[in-house]
Symmetry: C2
Subunit: 369 residues, 2 copies
C-alpha cells in the first residue's frame, strides 16, 4: 500500500479502516459478479437485499441487539432525530426530560419544545460543558414520556461513563460519536440513534436501534419519512435508502467483528485514549478541556492557552501527516478524535509529536522538568 495515507483525527466524517476502503475500491465497478457497482443497484434487487440484511444482522451480532428491537437505516443525521424523537415519542403526557451536556443535546432540547413540554433535567452550559452530571445531579420527572441525553459530546470531549437510572421512564440516547466503541447494554434503552459518519460508515446514514413497542404512536403532524413505525414496517426501505453507505456500513460491521467486536474495540480505544491523555498530562503547556472523570475516549480536547501556539500545533502536526487536529470553533484549541478506525500507531505518532512540540515550544515537562 502506498505510504501516502495520513493519520486523520477528524471528528466526523472521519477515517475508515484501510482494509474496508480497499475492499470497496476493488468491488467498485463490479460487485460480486453482478457487472455493476453497488451504487448502481436497485434497492429492491435480491443482491442489495442481501447487503442490507447482512448489515442489519452483523450489527445485531456486534451490539448484541435483542429481537424486540428494530435496527433502522435512515437519513438526515442526528439532527433529524432531534425532531423525529419528540414527534414519535412525546405521545402520552407530551412531556420529556432533556439533559444538556453540550451543543447537540442543547439543539435537541430546543427542537423538542416544538412538539411538547420539555423539562431540562440538567444543564452544563454554566461550566462550559466540562462536566458530565452524576446520577444525583439529575432532576428527573416521573411523568416524562422519555429522558433524552447525548452519551458522548464530540465538541467538548466529554462522555458518560454510566447509563442514567430513569426509574422506568424510557431512555433515549444520541450515541453518534461513541456507538460501537465499547459494549452497550441495549436493553437499558428505549431508543438509540447515531449519525453513522464517525464510527460506522461514510456520512449520509443514520442508525436507529429502538424497542419496537415504542413506535406507532406518532403525532399526526409527523412527516411521512419521520415515522419510526413506517420505517419498521418497510424495513428502512419506504423509499430508496442510502445504498452505498449501507454497503460501507456492512463492510465496517464485518471488520469490527473480525477485529474481535466491541469488547476488543473498548480495550483498544481505552489504550489509545489513556496513552494520549497521559502524554498530554506530562507537559504543562497542554490544558485538557474536560474534567478527568468526564473525559471522552473518542474525542480528546486540549489547548495551550495561546491561540497562536494552538494554530502552530495544528500546522506543524499537519506537516508530519497528522491532520484535522483543530478543535471545534466553540471550544477552540485542539481535538484528536480516536474512533475505531484510528489505530494505535496513529496515536503513538501523535504522542511523539505532542512531546516534541512541548519540548520545542512549551517549556519544561512535569516529569523531566
Amino acid at each position: 500500500m502506498e505510504k501516502v495515507r495520513v493519520y486523520n483525527f477528524a471528528a466526523g466524517p472521519s477515517c475508515l479502516p484501510l482494509a474496508v476502503l480497499l475492499k470497496a475500491q476493488k468491488e467498485l465497478l463490479n460487485y460480486e459478479g453482478t457487472g455493476m457497482s453497488v451504487m448502481e443497484m436497485s434497492h429492491r434487487s435480491p443482491v442489495f437485499s442481501k447487503i442490507i440484511h447482512h448489515a442489519e444482522n452483523a450489527c445485531r451480532k456486534l451490539l448484541h441487539i435483542p429481537d424486540d428491537y428494530a435496527v433502522l437505516f435512515l437519513q438526515g443525521g442526528a439532527s433529524t432525530q432531534f425532531s423525529m424523537v419528540p414527534l414519535n415519542l412525546m405521545n402520552k403526557n407530551k412531556k420529556a426530560d432533556y439533559i444538556i451536556t453540550g451543543n447537540f443535546s442543547n439543539i435537541a432540547t430546543t427542537e423538542a419544545k416544538k412538539y411538547g413540554d420539555v423539562h431540562v433535567a440538567y444543564d452544563g452550559t454554566v461550566n462550559h460543558f466540562i462536566h458530565i452530571p452524576t446520577q444525583d445531579e439529575l432532576s428527573l420527572s416521573a411523568d416524562a414520556d422519555y429522558v433524552h441525553y447525548c452519551a458522548n459530546n464530540t465538541i467538548y470531549g466529554t462522555q458518560w461513563h454510566y447509563v442514567p437510572d430513569t426509574h422506568g421512564v424510557p431512555l433515549v440516547a444520541d450515541v453518534s460519536s461513541c456507538i460501537a466503541s465499547e459494549p452497550i447494554d441495549v436493553t437499558k434503552f428505549a431508543l438509540l440513534y447515531a449519525g453513522a459518519q464517525k464510527n460506522l460508515s461514510p456520512a449520509g446514514l443514520t442508525i436507529v436501534i429502538m424497542r419496537k413497542d415504542m413506535a406507532g404512536h406518532e403525532q399526526s403532524i409527523t412527516p411521512l419519512m419521520l415515522s419510526y413505525q413506517r420505517m419498521i414496517d418497510k424495513e428502512s426501505m419506504y423509499n430508496t435508502p442510502p445504498c452505498f453507505q449501507i454497503y460501507m456500513f456492512s463492510l465496517m460491521m464485518d471488520w469490527l467483528l473480525e477485529q474481535g467486536g466491541v469488547e476488543e474495540m473498548a480495550k483498544r480505544n481505552k489504550e489509545k485514549a489513556d496513552l494520549l491523555y497521559h502524554t498530554l498530562e506530562q507537559y504543562p503547556v497542554y490544558r485538557l478541556h474536560a474534567e478527568k472523570d468526564s473525559r471522552s475516549t473518542m474525542n480528546v480536547t486540549f489547548r495551550t492557552g495561546d491561540e497562536k501556539l494552538d494554530a502552530l500545533f495544528v500546522e506543524e502536526a499537519k506537516k508530519e501527516g497528522l491532520v484535522n487536529l483543530k478543535g471545534h470553533r466553540l471550544t477552540g484549541g485542539m481535538r484528536a478524535s480516536l474512533y475505531n478506525a484510528m489505530d494505535i500507531d496513529g496515536v503513538k505518532t501523535l504522542c511523539t509529536f505532542v512531546e516534541k512540540f512541548a519540548r520545542e515550544y512549551g517549556g519544561q515537562s512535569h516529569v523531566q522538568g
Copy 2:
C-alpha cells in the same frame, strides 16, 4: 476495461457512466493528494468545501440556474420533499393544488393534506395513469399557495412535455426521474426537487432548486432539518451532508458538461427512446403502457399481455447482459429506464433482443408479417 459490466436498465438507483466510476475508484484511497478518501473528509475542510462549491457551480452552469435561485443538497429523497414542500410553502392561504399523474404525485397529495387544504387539479387514477393531462384538463385554483406536479412518472412511463401555465401561482415540480435529461426553463418554477439516484448520483442525495424568496415562511411545526431557509443560510451544511454523494454528483456534472450539456443529452435521450419505442411498435406481441403523446423519454413501459411471457422476456434478456428490465409491481410487464448514463449501444443491444424475442415467442412482426 473488463467486459463484465452489464447494461443496467434499473429505474433508480441506476447505471452511472463508466468514466465517472473509474475516476471515483482511482481516487478512493487518496483524493488529490490529501492522503484520505472523500468518505473520510471533514465536511468543514477546505478540500470538501471546494468539492461542494464545484458541485453547485457546475449544476448552475449545466441547468442555467439564475442567481436568485438556491441549489440545495439534502437528504431523505423525494418522499421527504412531499412533506417539506407543504410545511414551507403552504403559508399564505394554506391551500395548494396537486396534479395526480402517478404513484408518487398521489403520495405527495396525501401528505400535503396533513398541512393544509389540498385541491386535486387532475387525477389520472381512473385511466391507470396512461395519460398526461393537457392544459385544458387542469382545474387550477387562483388562490393556491402553489401548484404541485410530477414531471416524469417513473412507474408508469409517462412524462409532461410542456410546463403547465398556473397563471402566476408558484409552480413546484418533482423532477426526480427527468432532471438533467433535457433543457428546462428554471425560471418557470418556484421550486424543483429530485431524488438524485436516477440521473445525477448514487442514492442518498436530494437536489432542490428554488427561488430564494419562496423560503423563510415555514409553518412553526417544521422539523429543523426540513426548513429550506435554514438550508439556504447554512449552504446545505447545517449538519453533515452526504459528502460522498455530493462528490459523485460533482463528477456527474463534469461528465454531463463534457458530453455537451443537457442540450446534447436531450438529443441522445430522444434518439434512444425513439429507437426503442419504434422497435417495440413493430411487433404486436408488445403493448406500450403510456398513450403516445404522454410517453416518457426516460422510462419505457411495455408488456406482452402474458405474465409468463413477460417473465421469460426479463429472464432471457438477463442472460444477454440486459438487466433490471422487470416492470414495477403496480404496472407489471417490463420497463427500460434510459437515463443519461445509458448509452446508445445499450439501447441498440436491447432492441436487437426485443426483435429476437418477438420472432421467437411473439408471432409475426407488423412490418414483415
